[in-house]
């Protein structure tokens, strides 16, 4: 009887502690991945099954939980294009077209396995609630559920290193738990300014058999921006921030 009472007591305390820790843990993962406001450079590489590659270079700025903008620097065919995300709103500016057009999170402006929500990633805590956390050896496994239907992936499973509190793998799933893609976080690197994070994210998908995409980070550094930077009108001028 005493054992049963003790078990109930442990459970009663354990569940709220896990729920609370899950949200706090996810916040910590967000902050370890990047400062709340920062700039960075990224190279995106799409690799086809026959080994052929296509590369894109982007300059990215982010502020707060839900504002992020990117500017394509290369290749020449994409140079000058920019993307903006304000919460669930996303736009693409193409210099020739001249005006920003609305795009969706499940589209991909670069083709390949990364879609727009991967490229314009917000804080995970901005889009997801933590349903539960499990301990798997040296890692935590966080089960995330999207806060709204507007989020690209309804569910995420995040494996995070216990010591560094950084993700090592993320599975992106549909509402019915069908796997859409897997992100692998590699090559933890010190970017200076206290930013220690994976420099490489690789992804593959059962929907794109044989294809891979890789995102390589460089020059990640904390920087504050005015809110006006994250507006449609400013999209043609993101280059001026570099």
């Amino acid at each position: 009887m005493l054992k049963i009472l003790i078990s109930f007591a442990i459970l009663a305390f354990a569940i709220p502690v896990y729920a609370l820790d899950g949200t706090a843990l996810l916040k910590q993962v967000d902050r370890n991945l990047s400062p709340e406001s920062y700039e960075s450079y990224r190279k995106l590489i799409n690799i086809e099954p026959d080994g052929r590659k296509k590369e894109f270079t982007l300059f990215t700025v982010k502020k707060g939980a839900d504002k992020v903008a990117s500017l394509f620097l290369a290749p020449a065919s994409e140079k000058g294009r920019s993307t903006l995300r304000l919460g669930d709103n996303m736009w693409l500016y193409i210099p020739n077209v001249g005006k920003p057009i609305r795009i969706t999170s499940i589209q991909s402006v670069v083709g390949g396995v990364f879609n727009n929500s991967d490229i314009l990633q917000l804080d995970y805590t901005a889009e997801y609630n933590v349903e539960k956390v499990e301990e798997k050896g040296d890692e935590y496994l966080l089960y995330l559920k999207a806060k709204t239907k507007a989020v690209a992936y309804d569910r995420l499973k995040i494996w995070a290193d216990k010591g560094k509190k950084l993700p090592t793998k993320i599975e992106c799933l549909t509402e019915a738990n069908m796997l859409i893609k897997t992100l692998y976080f590699k090559d933890v690197k010190d970017f200076g300014g206290g930013i220690l994070r994976p420099a490489v994210i690789e992804t593959d998908s059962p929907l794109y058999k044989g294809y891979r995409s890789v995102m390589i980070y460089a020059k990640v550094k904390a920087r504050d921006f005015k809110d006006e930077v994250f507006t449609l009108t400013f999209m043609p001028n993101i280059e001026s921030l570099r």
Binding site: Y41, K43, I45, N46, E48, G51, R52, K53, K54, E55, T57, F59, L73, A74, P75, A76, S77, K79, L86, G87, D88, N89, I94, P95, N96, V97, G98, K99, I101, R102, T104, S105, I106, Q107, G111, G112, K149, A150, A152, Y208, K209, G210, Y211, I216, A218, K219, F225, K226, D227, E228, V229, F230, T231, L232, T233, F234, N237, S240, L241, R242
Partner: protein, 435 residues
Amino acid sequence: MKQLRISLILALLFFTLCSTSSSFAEKDAFDISEIEKKPYHIGGNLEFKPVLFGLDRNASLYKLKFYNRDEGSAIEEYDAKLQLEGSLEKGISKLLVKTNTDYKKSYLGEDQQTTIYEGFLSVKPSSSLSIDVGKKTLKWGKGYAWNPVAFVDRPKDPDDPELSLEGFIVASADYIKSFQGPLKTISFTPVLIPVYKHVNNTFGDIDKLNFAGKLYFLFYDTDIDLIVLTGGSKTTRYGVDFSRNITTSLEIHGEFAFINDYKKNFIDSNGNNFGKEYDAKSYLIGLRYLTEKDTTYIFEYYRDGTGFTSGEMRDYFTFINNGYDSYVSTGSDSLLKKALSVTEGNYGRINPMRDYLYFRVSQKEPFDILYFTPSVTLITNINDKSFSFSPELLYTGITNLELRLKAAFVSGERLSEYGEKQNDYRVELRARYYF
């Protein structure tokens, strides 16, 4: 025909060479030197486009253009285009220039023309304010194929809406303010458009200084623009547009334009000229829908209040046919020349009538072929039931090279818009290289 075949072979050879060279240039390493900012930039694109036109020898517009020559049932054309872009940045100032050089070899011989599309100085004292002076495109409006509220732009071609356009010489500013809450952004764009003998003289009546303004809001996740143009070169006009995502995969947009005292000039079947003045209302409603399989549907309905009615267009085509008959019987082309004089900028507009539907379906990367996008576009004139149908194949898998094979077929009864186009069909291959 022989030249066309040679062009196709050259384009394929170009494709193969670029494909080979790109595989040698691949590298995974992040070369920091490539992201270092330079104070200047020079780039652009070079395009080559052989085109085959299938002529409709019974069409009014064929008769208007070819009445005194016989070019057979099909004509070839070889187009090349060079667009150069350059910029120079110092402090808060930036100078941008974009030129366009068109080369055309057709049944009329060779022709070449260079135009400055844009060339302006931009000064940004802060992220909230920028001031631009010079030639630039504004491209207002939310529609994909048409933009009735684009009062300060040249009309775009719904058959190729993403082509860059020549701007006008303007002085403009952008002031941006962001907020928390349902109203997230306001921006104000005032524009001065001088129109004089040698400045913007195609914009409208000369010796006027025009003012245009755009007030933009991001309100409850909806983009909204309020637009005005006044000053005398054109009659005063007001516009409003919006764009919003209803769901993550469905976007809707619309535009409404009110044009004061629009003056319409038209001609009857005997060649008598008429003028009519009225307040014109033009509007557009559209949607863009993306499926889980990456199929994009774009649908737009466009009502052009300045357009011609079916009766007015029939009169115009009948007058051309009468003019052609007169030319055949008497050898005098005076009636055809008169028809030609009312065509430019009037009946000769890209879509001169009132009600149109635009429907485009594109499938991204079918059969797991990366960077390959086939699509079909249908533009229908609701008033006379004529239409244009354009299938195209786009491949962008080779870095900086874009290949597009496109055809366009038009169909319609006699005296209808598409039924009287000079071509029954058009086939083109466009190879565009960016540098």
